[in-house]
Amino acid sequence: MRSRRFKAIHAGETHVFTGLATLLAQASPRRSGDELAGLAADSDTRRVAARMALADLPLKCFLEDVVVPYDADEVTRLIVDTHDEAAFTPVATMTVGEFREWLLSDAADGATLAKLAPGLTPEMVAAVSKLCRNGDLVAIAAKVRVTTAFRSTIGLPGRLAARLQPNHPTDDPAAIAAATLDGLVYGMGDAVIGINPATDNVESCVSLLTMLDDIRTRFDIPTQSCVLAHVTTSIAAIEKRAPLDLVFQSIAGTEAANAGFGVTLSILKEAQDAALSLKRGTVGSNVMYFETGQGAALSADAHHGVDQQTIEARAHAVARAFSPLLVNTVVGFIGPEYLYDAKEITRAGLEDHFCGKLLGVPMGVDVCYTNHAEADQDDMDVLALTLANAGVNFLIAVPGADDIMLNYQSLSHHDVVRLRHLLGLRPAPEFEAWLARMGLLDAAGRLPALAPDPSTARRLLAIGGAA
């Protein structure tokens, strides 16, 4: 099975591809990470020929052949063992090319796609994404709604949530509080108030969790907080009775790459059970938060000859096994050796969102780049606008788009406000009601024009201990 051959004949020229992983890799839009791994097509002609061969491939082939061996990889076993044959039935006789056309058709509405999700494997959705233009990825993803809840409800139609990310290089509490305040007055934080800690140890995790929980309870904010420490740190924090809402973990699409992150599926399950036992959610019990990103497996030398976009879709399949509240790709964070420029970052962001949503994952995106990538804030404007039209569940926002701890650029609070106003998208309903109570939203559901009500701002400013 591993050496199965695929063929495309065009204008008398025959192109042969040996192995399903090779076919998928060569059909991928060009990107630096696949070239670095030596997996990419060596010409544009061959790339399109691979897509032609892929278009003719029956979807059910992905149930007969795997890209990473079943015996060697627990992610493959998860995908194969949890596949829902009955859910797959509506598309069981289609080729990948026919599947694309059906996804674009009116027959594939939101309800139909939601029922289909458990019948789809990550390799199937990765395959069809490779045949889609960016516009197709937006139009299809926009039909899918994945709704989750904890203290706020994320993913409803007409809503756009945001993670408030008040990181600081030394985890300084006053600096974190100041950045949190800056986000709250812009209506950020309905997805989560989430800190990447500078120091990953239990004591500092507990103290940051306690600080965030104090802010949340003092102002009765219907949202959840998270310290993005390693999953084992979160488990230890729970044992110390820290006020932990969500367990975070970076994950990838192979067992070996997850080992590089220091996690297994059983550790993730243990963490989910521990967080559920706290029963802290009020409107829902989705307690996990995952980040993913193309290139993670290659950087851990754990890609098994599979292209980075297919591996990324497999990471989404890992995520969906744990009913997460939030999942986001950190698309431009990993660097130019994986996604070289804005064209590659934009494409990957749309692919990751599309694949996640088709698999039933509550997908958000960190619209971002590093200073050694060929990208800037203009490119982030375009990707954010495109994702908002695609119905992305949430975006990440940092003060002034500048993360002073991780040294990269994401979106500014302003940028999310602009998307909400421009496209008529609103915050999560529970959080929206809170913003209105605090005078941070006017009667039309917009952020007040100049500044929020001074008395409200002053009360919030007290968070920073400065007023």
Partner: protein, 251 residues
Amino acid sequence: MSHDADTWEKLRRLTRARIGLGRAGDGLPTKALLDFQMAHAKARDAVHGAADFDRIAVDLAPREVIRLASAVPDRPTYLRRPDLGRRLADGEAEKLPAGPCDVVFVIADGLSAAAVDANAVATLEATARRLEGLSIGPVVLAREARVALGDVVGAAMNAAVVAVLIGERPGLTAADSLGVYLTFHPVPGRKDAERNCLSNIHAHGMSPDEAGHKLAWLIREALRLKSTGVGLKEAAPKFAVGESGAGPRIA
């Protein structure tokens, strides 16, 4: 509103984060917009600039220097192919004396020419003057280089430890931040977990003098323990780090 403006002013002193920027509709005020663009421009110029190794060689005199090139032909390739930045170009290895010596310093451009120009010589000299009694090999100046190029160089020169002083990926708050990676018994194939790292060496971060103090301590400990990496925790006495982004200071 002036009360709020005062309050934001107080909050801004707590952090270097871009808080309290104000709004122009849903966009940034023009000043904030251009401040951000200038910071990004400096970061990009640091990534794409060339380190001034002529000047560095003069500043290091009378120390002997050896200039090397990695297998990377140009900056776009450097960014796409980290593997080539870890290897020497053909013929370059012949420039290296066989040693042995205790310590070899490699100054590598990495991702910030500005960091190397501003902080490499000062950091190296601050370290070397604390290494009395140890033999220090010629200083290697490496273009289009990654950290692991130091393993190749250190092995060729039979160095007990190699210290790679390298430009870090620039952020918006500091485009000239230098990092140092110390590796005991350098040979190709060393993992990152086998190195000790000092980072954030720049005018508003760790000073070159503080870095030299810590690095010299690490070098002596590495030679004593015959190890670097997870087994060696940096615990040099004397220097303390400030609070709230105020930058480090000498305690």
